[in-house]
């Protein structure tokens, strides 16, 4: 598929009218990362600490008076401690054509929908690269044809997506994984959900005054699988991919220091239909501590009608769940506004049903020209057997990453 895409893009390039203005640019990031897990693993087969490097090259080519654009983003992770985490992906390899009232985009692309911070319910186009990071923010490139109509009443995007991509999961040696582990060799595709199908999506998005609104529908193989027990001794979790319909609404109202946010979805096709929402606010205090720093306060509540998942007991029916089924996230974001763009995010998500806690601390800073450092820590507190986060009870970690940009 990738090869066909490249051939197609090259073909389009050759057919492109003689360009009057072109610009092309290479850049790259190389990251060295180390993670410390102070507690011994829940499964003795799991690693203790990890060290890895990542390489992410990018290329952009703009031509035809900025009407056409080709972009490439590659990704390679080499992990010294967990061979399963060594992986590569083409995040983006895409051609775009821009007309006055429409845009066409073809290739592997990354598309983000939504407004909230603690989780991204509405965002559904790309599969999550969960082996790369437990936060779910890293995404695999999705092959697609995307057509956008630009009207005075917002932008309407239509997507046709061949080649479903399975979620990546940490392997048997990896930390930050479910107990028992997920075995992707045993993956089950429900009827019609196999990789031969074409997934479809439609989205309307508009900005009116203080409001940014989105309404979307997705019909295709769920990026978010359910799980069942599988393997010879029923000792592993097996992802089950099914065809779903998902309708999503996202809205943000922005008034000076306040951001009010809401995302809600309705999904059918994975057992009973269900609904979920995340809503909350972010408020920014400018010039705190008598200086130039900004302090943001975030609060988001999440709910899922499927309720608290009971994990690892009886999985005769596939289990679909959200970690945030009745959870409150409270966080604070500090931006020092200094030369190094130092920023710090701290927060916690508390499960209002069980009282278990997920604690987060993230900080980043430019340590020199072309160099940045990130420190991230997470702790999983008080989860009881049966809760999804119980799998991670021994996986509190400290991660340090230094990146060099070229």
């Amino acid at each position: 598929m990738t090869r066909r895409l490249i051939v197609g893009i090259v073909g389009i390039l050759l057919l492109a009218p003689a360009s009057t203005a072109t610009a092309q640019d290479w850049s790259a990031r190389i990251e060295a990362e180390g993670s410390l897990f102070p507690a011994s693993p829940a499964d003795p087969g799991q690693i203790h600490n990890s060290a890895s490097i990542a390489i992410a090259p990018e290329w952009e080519f703009e031509f035809d008076d900025r009407r056409q654009l080709i972009t490439f983003e590659g990704f390679l992770r080499l992990d010294a401690s967990d061979p399963d985490r060594t992986h590569a992906d083409i995040r983006v390899l895409s051609w775009e054509y821009v007309a006055n009232r429409w845009e066409a985009r073809v290739g592997l692309r990354r598309v983000f929908w939504g407004v909230t911070e603690s989780q991204h319910l509405v965002d559904i186009i790309n599969q999550t690269d969960l082996i790369e990071s437990p936060d779910g923010e890293d995404k695999l490139g999705q092959p697609m044809v995307n057509f956008a109509w630009i009207t005075d009443f917002g932008t309407v995007d239509a997507f046709v997506m061949p080649l479903f991509r399975e979620r990546t999961f940490p392997g048997s040696r990896g930390r930050l994984r479910f107990q028992p582990r997920v075995e992707t060799d045993e993956t089950v595709f429900d009827e019609g959900a196999d990789s031969g199908r074409l997934d479809l999506a439609l989205r309307w998005a508009h900005s009116v005054g203080a409001w940014d609104l989105g309404l979307s529908h997705f019909y295709g193989t769920s990026r978010d699988p359910r799980f069942t027990l599988g393997g010879v001794t029923s000792s592993v979790l097996v992802p089950v991919y099914e065809v779903i319909h998902q309708t999503g609404i996202d809205a943000q109202m922005t008034t000076a220091a306040w951001l009010l946010k809401l995302e809600t979805i309705l999904r059918s096709g994975q057992g009973d239909a269900f609904g979920a929402l995340t809503g909350g606010f972010e408020y920014t205090f400018g010039g705190v501590f008598g200086g130039v720093a900004d302090l943001g306060v975030l609060l988001e509540y999440s709910w899922d009608s499927r309720g608290e998942a009971v994990f690892g007991t009886d999985l005769t029916d596939p289990l679909g769940f959200s970690v945030f089924q009745n959870d409150l996230f409270v966080g604070s974001r500090l931006a020092l506004n200094d030369t190094g763009s130092t920023s710090l995010l701290g927060g916690g998500a508390v499960d209002l049903d069980t009282g278990s806690l997920l604690l987060i601390l993230e900080t980043s800073r430019r340590i020199a020209d072309d160099w940045t450092m990130e420190i991230e820590a997470r702790a999983f507190v008080g989860a009881e057997p049966g809760e999804p986060l119980y799998s991670l009870r021994q996986d509190d970690y400290l991660r340090v990453a230094v990146s060099r940009y070229f």
Partner: protein, 279 residues
């Protein structure tokens, strides 16, 4: 889980617009030229000077430019930011602008879209390339520094005549030019300043110097634009803008290059689709 790499929400902005207001300019005297009242009424005289400077910088349509920002701390250590700007003049409202970051390299590809308004808050969106995410951001912290520099958001954003009250202080000479010295007091209580004292040349109504006074009334910063060039035989823009912070010993120099006016930009170059593919 969250992008902590916030590019100072509400900081980044149309430096181009900055120029528009910080360096009010024009040449062509027309029949509509505002009559500058005499010195008996300092308020009316100050306002008329501001209105005339604004009038002379109206009608440019759109332009693109490149900017290098050099930040120096009190020890002389430097760091550099490269930004490209596209600006569209909007009839009857503030301007639209798109800023694209090239350096520092860790924010390369980040882009910022701003719709400024004559009244009410501006609309601002930030594009985060690592997530392909467009975020609508808060606009309240206008006194915060832009990219860690000595320019605050309010220094560089589009400014309208209505955003200040004016008092003419005196006429004097600066570097051999005849100058109106006008005090501006921000209307917005969120401003980081109690007043700005501006030196405006009588011939072209360009801002030749600005002194900024902080919330305690102390002299905080001085801006000196230099190397003025005239574009489209009307619009004056400086090559260099030097801002010195007297309280911290830090300074920031903006160097402008590649000004191009009336390049065919339209509203479509300033929507969220354009923000996502800004390169």
């Amino acid at each position: 889980m969250m992008d902590t790499k916030i590019l100072k929400p509400g900081t980044i902005a149309t430096l181009v617009l900055a120029i528009v207001m910080l360096v009010l300019a024009a040449t062509v005297g027309t029949a509509q030229e505002t009559a500058i009242p005499d010195t008996a009424d300092p308020g009316a005289r100050g306002l008329a000077i501001a209105v005339e400077a604004d009038r002379r910088d109206t009608g440019f349509g759109n332009f693109t430019a490149e900017m290098v920002m050099v930040l120096r701390n009190r020890h002389g250590q430097e760091s550099r930011r490269d930004i490209r700007l596209r600006t569209l003049e909007v009839d009857g409202d503030g301007d639209k602008s798109l800023s694209i970051f090239d350096r520092p390299r860790d924010v390369e590809g980040t882009a910022f879209l701003s719709f400024s308004h004559v009244t009410g808050n501006d609309d601002q969106w930030l594009y985060l390339p690592a997530l392909s995410r467009v975020k609508r951001i808060s606009t309240s912290n206008k006194s915060g520094p832009f990219m860690g520099s000595e320019f605050s958001y309010e220094d560089i954003s589009s400014q309208e005549v209505e955003e200040y009250t004016y008092t003419w202080l005196r006429d004097e000479q600066l570097d051999g030019q005849d100058i109106y010295v006008v005090e501006r007091v921000p209307v917005d209580k969120n401003s980081g300043y109690t007043k700005l004292v501006t030196w405006i040349d009588k011939e072209h109504f360009r801002t030749m110097k600005v002194e900024f006074y902080d919330r305690k009334g102390a002299h905080m910063k001085t801006l000196i634009p230099q190397g003025f060039h005239q574009y489209l035989e009307q619009y004056w823009r400086p090559d260099i803008m030097n801002m010195v912070n007297h309280q911290t010993g830090k300074s920031t120099v903006l160097e402008w290059t590649n000004y191009e006016f009336r390049t065919g930009l339209t509203d479509r170059d300033f929507d969220r689709n354009a923000l996502k593919r800004a390169r």
